[in-house]
Symmetry: C2
Subunit: 159 residues, 2 copies
């Protein structure tokens, strides 16, 4: 059974905030990571492209870091959106986050050629600062652990 | 004055290890990060492509994480290569590292449209495990701090 993300928070970011190389739906050359709820956890699914190699047969760590990064900001947005009383898909504009810090522990080499699944657990530090703990699986095996501290986008980001 | 990396460790990786999306010279679609000595520090220079956005005007954090990652493994390789009595460019095969962990603190939004410079300080933890502390500058301003723990590539990576 293929697992997919039906309702992704990134589908609802305003157009002005949809240019991210990792998760912006309007960035034609980007990865188009999409993050939604999966029970009480958050989930992002992505199949690396042929060029996303560390070595032939294994996925590039920087791609995994990117995956953890956008999964983290998307997860924080999902959680604050829910806390604000909204569900994804109802049309309310979700909050946008930026990454304050990113950490990835590479548990084992990540095989290339299969879908990666990120599962996130979101913790509120305070209303504008959230922590997302992520596990990245390939073919059911845990390959990386990540942690993102995401903060509500500051006005310095908005031109 | 333009600063460039003259002798990069990645130029000397064997062909079988030159496919990394971040720093492999043979990966046509990759970033081609190149890392060399800069005094007692290590240096990597990269100008993000137009699509490497977080928001219009600012660089994607996952790209910065990728930059810190390959800068880290390249720096560890430079340091062990030197410890082994070799200089870059003399033709000896350098040691190859993989990333055990990667951490990036985003100090401020990174402006898009200028070259990024990573400066690394390398610490030996033990002969097969090195830590690289990195500062990422854009236009002379510190935008991110990174830390990579790199280990000599284990045999599980070699097919």
């Amino acid at each position: 059974m293929e697992i997919i993300v039906h309702k992704a928070i990134q589908d609802e970011y305003p157009d002005d905030f949809a240019w991210c190389y990792g998760c912006g739906r309007l960035n034609e050359k980007g990865h188009h990571f999409r993050t939604g709820w999966h029970g009480e956890q958050t989930m992002t699914i992505f199949t690396p492209k042929p060029e996303h190699l560390a070595l032939p047969g294994f996925v590039y760590g920087g791609l995994i870091a990117s995956f953890v990064d956008c999964h983290g900001t998307g997860s924080a947005s999902l959680a604050l959106h829910r806390k604000n009383g909204h569900d994804v898909g109802e049309g309310a504009e979700p909050p946008r986050f930026v990454t304050a810090s990113l950490k990835v522990d590479f548990v084992k080499p990540t095989p290339h050629g299969v879908a990666l699944k990120a599962l996130g657990t979101v913790h509120e530090i305070h209303p504008k600062k959230w922590k997302v703990e992520t596990e990245v699986y390939a073919d059911g095996e845990l390959c990386a652990r990540g942690e993102v501290v995401a903060v509500v986008m500051p006005s310095t980001f908005i031109k």
